[in-house]
Symmetry: C2
């Protein structure tokens, strides 16, 4: 298996892009990544997206995108793993290059959510859950996470206000990211006074919907060495794990088994421990998910992640910086694109180009993307060499 490196990155701002269609967004990110890499072709394109079939009346995003960006000679497919679609596409692209099937692979994540009006998108998002036993009973995705958060608060004795630091950190970091949806700070008061969505989750616990696209270009490491790029950003671990799709079937709703397994596998591949991770772009679709991910990935004692956040350890200057470019909460969460945004942001950090929120001496960056309520989790560790 060949070593693989990231040669180029690209992204659009996350926003309500009323004036841009699905393909325009995806194309902008894809072309930006090609330009960043200084190449004009790709052997294969892997498009991560969750809902284009229903929200945009367009499936077949592989052929659709390769045609649009002028690369009809490239093979291309669409990869879906609900909100984990981006990282799933990245992992398939990685395997294509690692296996020797491709020398240049482009992973693109895109989601155009504003094409689907409010109530419809809620139903479409719920297709990530079990149609029979969750969505069919009227459980929306926010409601599922609210059940988990309520249980967590009860078990470990936390109050709602204790989750504020997760959202405040995300917003604080997003101020300095021109691609973020919300480039404005959030105060303690702003967090606590936000309208309730599904008790105990209020608007400031939840990531916003939005439109956006991000792209990453992958090549074998030997190619990068020839191009003399510095720093060389290598993918040193790629793992994935699943759990039951519905939370009712889990022994414990407050423990992300798939996050634990995927992180453990990734550390083992990379040959490092959690302590060596410089930053962790985790899947903070809801504050409770940030807490559970930190615990399952080995950065916090069980039930103690809110303490870690309150102590400031999740800031760029802390022990385990998270959401360094705004995270899902403030950069935004265009679902099928999110996993690629996370990789793009890790690369920015490893290149030392994260500006005001640069993590000093960043060497190992980890990205974790979740599909469903913890049912499909993808982890990647990248290294600046």
């Amino acid at each position: 298996m060949r070593e693989v490196a990231v040669l180029g990155i690209g992204q659009t701002q996350v926003d309500e892009h009323w004036g841009k269609s699905l393909k325009i967004l995806a194309g902008e990110a894809a072309l930006a990544a090609l330009q960043d890499a200084g190449v004009d072709r790709a052997d294969g394109i892997f498009v991560g997206n969750m809902m284009s079939g229903s929200a945009n009346h367009q499936q077949h995003l592989g052929a659709y995108l390769s045609d649009w960006i002028g690369l009809p000679q490239s093979e291309s497919v669409h990869i879906e793993a609900a909100c984990g679609s981006g990282a799933a596409a990245f992992r398939c692209a990685l395997m294509a290059v690692a296996s020797g099937q491709m020398n240049i692979a482009l992973a693109v994540g895109v989601e155009k959510m504003t094409d689907s009006p409010g109530p419809e998108i809620t139903a479409e998002l719920a297709t990530a859950a079990d149609a029979d036993w969750e969505a069919g009973q009227g459980l929306s995705f926010v409601a599922l996470n609210a059940l988990i958060m309520r249980r967590y608060m009860w078990e470990f004795g936390w109050k709602h206000e204790h989750f504020a630091p997760f959202s405040i950190n995300a917003h604080q970091n997003a101020i300095h990211n021109p691609f973020a949806r919300f480039q404005e700070p959030l105060t303690e008061q702003g967090y606590q006074k936000a309208p309730m969505i599904a008790d105990p989750i209020n608007l400031m616990d939840a990531s916003p919907m939005g439109d956006g696209a991000a792209a990453v270009l992958l090549v074998p490491v030997e190619r990068l060495k020839r191009l003399d790029q510095s720093p060389l950003v290598k993918v040193i671990a790629s793992s994935a794990a699943t759990d039951t799709i519905s939370i009712q079937n889990r022994r414990d709703a407050t423990w992300l088994t798939a996050a634990e397994k995927s992180a453990r596998d990734a550390y083992s591949q990379a040959g490092i421990s959690p302590k060596e991770i410089s930053l962790f772009e985790l899947h903070d679709a809801f504050t409770i998910m940030a807490a559970l991910s930190l615990e399952a990935a080995g950065f916090s004692e069980r039930g103690q992640a809110p303490r870690l956040a309150m102590n400031g350890e999740i800031k760029p200057s802390g022990k385990i910086p998270i959401s360094t470019r705004g995270g899902l909460k403030a950069r935004g969460h265009p679902v099928g694109a999110t996993g690629i945004y996370q990789i793009v942001e890790v690369v920015q950090q490893l290149r030392g180009l994260a500006g005001e929120t640069q993590v000093p001496g960043a060497r190992y960056g980890m990205a974790q993307n979740i599909g469903g309520s913890g049912s499909n989790i993808f982890v990647h560790i990248l290294e600046a060499c």
Copy 2:
């Protein structure tokens, strides 16, 4: 890159499965493949499906299926390339094993079309075409193929009746396949008197909708050797190519550029010529697609595929047997599952277990799966060793 072999196959009958849900169908095929292989786990599951998000209100088929079949420890994703989703999933599974990332990968194709009533499914199928320039103008998938067929007939001087042998051969072969949707013969008269759908395509030129699932289990060849399986069925070529998504943007609507390129790449990987192919499971969603595929893949002079069919060369006893188990026309075309059915049928032939329609001495079997109107084409060549 490691050599990869098929260790197990499984399928359900293609039918209107009113009593079985999406997951029951997919689960039956997946478990049958595991049983055939004699293994009880998989490192990864790749699910090919096109329309479950809209037709079945269920996305996230990776986690959904791994949970249902009792393998929540397996990582899993959903792969989509319109009607080419099955082969696209197979190709991703293949790369995962070839790269060394996985030792056992399961590729499952599934589609449950009857959950979506008639007019809706037509719109859902049209999401494989360009939403802006084809579907948005009211062009259904049959209509797109009718435009191509009309042009082909005009250019090469064929009449509608000359396409009859494609459908008659498919039905004749399906009689002996217990998994086929239509296990009954079609006569010349039956073909010609079928009701018109989109002139010149009548009901007997078109493959039927249906529900079904098929699965294939892949392992590295060295593992198979240890198990002493005979014959050993190796995947000796895997390729894919795209073309413009809309036919209006092609220089020539009667030539499948992506079929030519993907077949050429596959022959090159396998180190063989078209003459050595024992059988060709092609994508006969419409009779015109069977003709175009035979030509682009090098089995017929341009514009002369109907002649090949009329001369009986596409029968199991002919020079290039096609649709040996019924093809899309008579086995059925549950879109996202079709590419896996084709692989399953090639394996049946290479194992010498195709009964009445066994191709004598079958050594090299080729499967070709098309997404959209020729815009995304996947080719695999398997060898009995």
